[in-house]
């Protein structure tokens, strides 16, 4: 009896309830939109090769930058780190056969493609939104309404999808754990997803509310945010950033979780400081909710607010720093396999530390007043979400592709991809710090000619980044078809997704779900082994 048959291909195009299929649907859909968003970024970098606005029309440029930001955040990073890896891994880690609400899960995914294509379609029917991904009124009220309304509907759909997913993760992690598996025995990714989901549930409805009020200002002539009608434009900024700052943590916390899974396996050491990793996630979740006004230091906020949000913002560096020190300690004295997954994680550590340092600088009001809304900020957040999260997404693809497909990716192409990404990314975004410090604002199609050379260097980096995608695409397509068979557990890992076939059967394990109480049970200290609890090491040894 061949129970471990592969999921039929058409399952991936339908309303599947299998969390693994849904995870892969999220991943592939997200990657498609990554290519679209990347093409838009390429158009921006082409426009900025010369100081004049000469590549595309000015309003088209604003549409392109609005679509680029919206797509990268809402259709690539959020759905992939949460939807793709969350769905694929969380049921394994809690020892469940699927998510708590499989139908809701499928609904959440299937909101994504319509929302994405709706957003893209707006470009062809009267032009896409052109007020940036922040959609600040009154600009968003005065620019063409059709594109802005489609943008709002699309973001509402994506936010709804995100909330459905978060509810599902919270229920699954808290209620679907295999008997005998305690919260403090879960792999770190579960804690990251729990924290992220709490942020999604608390913050996303606020964005939805703000966007609904904004749409009324646009179509019904209300004046919530329209100063011409007595409204207050800054209230929108508060509501927007109450979601959109936590959104940064919605994008990076799952990535932190993924790094915590990947590093111990390829370093052959336990995750350093398990408890402090959990407490730092909880600290980031709490602090992440009370720092939003640092995006508004120049918006005429009251003085006490600037003081409070400066301290709160900078202090987030402490729990974040704990995580990075713990990862370094995890690597230290390990047996590091220098494969694509580990190298992408190391690239992530460098880039994110860089972005974190500029983040602490940006939290200081007197400095922020100078660089707010400049290319310094553009560089900073790309170091966080691209150099940080996207690098982790690639690390995770190299790490879990063998489980998802049953085949190994080619390591030579993988390391080439990593090298090109790291170089391209840093050449593209490192010089932008200087641009911002010296007077180039963000979201401009034309700029002072003194910045031309540095902008051209940045565009060369962007070209390199585009090229870096090629070895990856070739690798994935070729390996899925002809790659070396991976076996059940190519990395000799302890966690439960590796204790089944590759790809896993429909309900994850043919027998009872394995109980792994120590997911990071690597290391040579034999005397630390207990005979009463089942530990990861014994399971993977037995599985071989």
């Amino acid at each position: 009896m061949d129970v471990q048959h592969h999921t039929p291909w058409h399952e991936y195009f339908g309303f599947s309830l299998d969390h693994k299929v849904i995870g892969i649907q999220y991943l592939v859909t997200g990657f498609f939109f990554y290519l679209v968003g990347g093409a838009l970024a390429g158009m921006i970098r082409v426009e900025l090769v010369t100081p004049l606005s000469d590549f595309m029309a000015r309003d088209t440029y604003n549409q392109v930058l609005t679509l680029h930001g919206t797509i990268m955040i809402f259709l690539w990073i959020v759905p992939v780190v949460n939807g793709a890896f969350g769905n694929y891994l969380v049921p394994f880690y809690v020892g469940a056969r699927d998510m708590a609400f499989p139908r809701l899960n499928a609904v959440a995914f299937w909101m994504l493609p319509p929302a994405g294509f709706l957003l893209l379609s707006s470009y062809f029917i009267g032009g896409a939104a052109q007020s940036g991904w922040t959609a600040y009124p009154p600009l968003s009220i005065t620019t063409p309404a059709v594109g802005q309304i489609i943008w709002i509907i699309s973001v509402l759909l994506l936010g709804g999808s995100s909330i459905f997913g978060a509810v599902n993760f919270i229920a699954t992690i808290l209620k679907l754990r295999r008997p005998g598996l305690g919260l403090f025995q879960l792999p770190m990714f579960c804690w990251a997803m729990l924290g992220t989901s709490v942020l999604v549930v608390l913050a996303t409805p606020v964005l939805a509310g703000a966007l609904i009020l904004l749409s009324m200002d646009i179509v019904a002539g209300t004046g919530f945010f329209n100063p011409a009608l007595g409204g207050n434009a800054v209230v929108y900024q508060h509501l927007f950033w109450f979601y959109s700052h936590p959104a940064v943590y919605i994008m990076v916390l799952p990535a932190f979780g993924l790094v915590s899974e990947i590093l111990p396996i390829h370093a052959r050491k336990p995750l350093f400081g398990y408890r402090s990793m959990i407490y730092s996630i909880l600290g980031i979740v709490f602090l992440g909710l009370i720092v939003w006004a640092h995006h508004m230091f120049t918006s005429g906020t009251p003085p006490w607010m600037r003081l409070f949000f400066t301290i709160a913002t900078a202090i987030i560096a402490v729990p974040t720093g704990i995580k990075f020190f713990n990862w370094l300690a995890t690597l230290w004295q390990g047996k590091l396999a220098l494969n694509s997954a580990l190298l992408f994680c190391c690239g992530f550590i460098f880039n994110f530390v860089f972005g974190g340092i500029t983040g602490v600088a940006l939290a200081q009001v007197p400095f922020d007043v100078h660089v707010h809304d400049t290319y310094f900020v553009v560089a900073h957040f790309h170091y966080i979400v691209f150099g940080g999260t996207v690098f982790v997404i690639f690390a995770a693809i190299y790490h879990w592709f063998p489980k998802m497909s049953g085949r190994l990716l080619n390591e030579h192409l993988g390391r080439l991809h990593c090298l090109l990404s790291f170089l391209g990314f840093n050449i593209c975004f490192f010089p932008q710090h200087w641009l911002g410090l010296n007077g180039m604002p963000r979201r401009v199609a034309e700029y002072d000619p003194q910045f031309q050379l540095v902008n051209q260097i940045s565009s060369v980096g962007a070209l390199l980044l585009a090229i870096s995608t090629l070895p990856f695409l070739v690798n994935v397509l070729w390996s899925a078809w002809k790659g070396a068979p991976a076996g059940d557990n190519p990395w000799r890992a302890c966690t439960t997704e590796w204790l089944t076939s590759s790809p896993p059967p429909v309900e994850n394990w043919l027998r009872e779900a394995p109980l792994v109480t120590e997911p990071y049970d690597y290391g040579s200290a034999e005397d630390a082994m207990s005979v009463t609890t089942v530990r990861g090491r014994e399971l993977w040894s037995a599985g071989r």
Partner: protein
């Protein structure tokens, strides 16, 4: 006999500190400073730069050392040591960054307060928080009379210029002389107070050489007070996306010595007022 690891670590730490101090103090990434507070902001930036370089170099060095020294050799299938944590180490790398962050916060608060960022704009006699808070919630009797945020020493003695932002230009009005220009002229060494308002969407008034930026939000007039201290022409840049020509929304500020500035004022003042410069104030 090999050198003990602790000595090497100490030497590496001292070297790292020296490098980052040197880089922070000697590599200048900022444009020229042309206002009194700009040098204070630059001093803060140098501190941040030194700290940042030290932290980034330190972590990168550890990462590189780990990748080289602890890479898995061919044929080695053993695990690393089963070290699961170290409480004193965790306390150390929680406490030290927390202290540094708090000191930084106090330092930048001090700078910002000296720049006038914590000023009480609406000149309530005392106990500002409740009333200021209420004002900022958009509920005052006459919103146009309220000053929203901004940077001001609240000394009231500064030379006033009214700045109006609109798609896609800044217009400058000199109320005492009652004339309007498209180019901002300011006297060197004398405090000025820009009174900013917007006619349409949100703009931001930014002069990189002054290290000052202020959003100009329709319905929420605000102020920006500073003292330019270096002669020259500097760009005024709109820093908030305001529409298709946002990138072209620029103007110029000319900082002149007080005498040339007075001459410029007189040259531009309408004839009737020019004969009696004080009349506009009494009118």
């Amino acid at each position: 006999m090999p050198i003990p690891a602790s000595v090497l670590t100490l030497a590496a730490g001292i070297l790292l500190a020296l490098i980052s101090l040197w880089v922070g103090q000697n590599i200048n990434l900022m444009p020229v400073a042309a206002a009194d507070d700009a040098t204070t902001v630059d001093a803060l930036f140098k501190v941040l730069f030194s700290l940042g370089v030290g932290l980034l170099l330190g972590i990168t060095a550890m990462l590189v050392v780990a990748l080289v020294q602890f890479r898995r050799r061919p044929g080695d299938h053993l695990d690393g040591p089963a070290v699961e944590g170290n409480l004193p180490l965790e306390i150390f790398w929680t406490a030290v960054p927390a202290i540094v962050i708090l000191i930084l916060g106090v330092y930048s608060y001090d700078i910002y307060a000296r720049m006038g960022g914590m000023a009480d704009f609406n000149h309530h006699t005392s106990m500002p928080p409740p009333e200021v808070e209420q004002a900022s919630l958009g509920n005052p009797a006459d919103p146009e009379t309220v000053i929203w945020g901004g940077i001001d020493r609240a000394e009231g003695m500064a030379f006033p210029v009214e700045v109006t932002a609109m798609q896609f230009a800044f217009i400058f009005h000199y109320p005492q002389q009652n004339f309007t220009t498209g180019e901002l002229h300011l006297p060197m060494g004398q405090p000025v107070e820009l009174q900013l308002k917007s006619n349409d969407v949100i703009h931001a008034f930014w002069v990189p050489e002054f290290r000052l930026k202020q959003d100009v939000i329709p319905g929420q007039p605000t102020v920006l007070s500073f003292t330019a201290n270096r002669q020259g022409d500097y760009d005024i840049i709109c820093a908030e996306l305001c529409g298709p020509y946002h990138g072209g929304m620029r103007s110029k500020v000319v900082v002149e010595d007080p005498q040339s500035f007075e001459e410029w004022l007189i040259r531009n003042t309408p004839a009737t007022v020019a004969t009696a410069p004080d009349s506009s104030r009494t009118a």
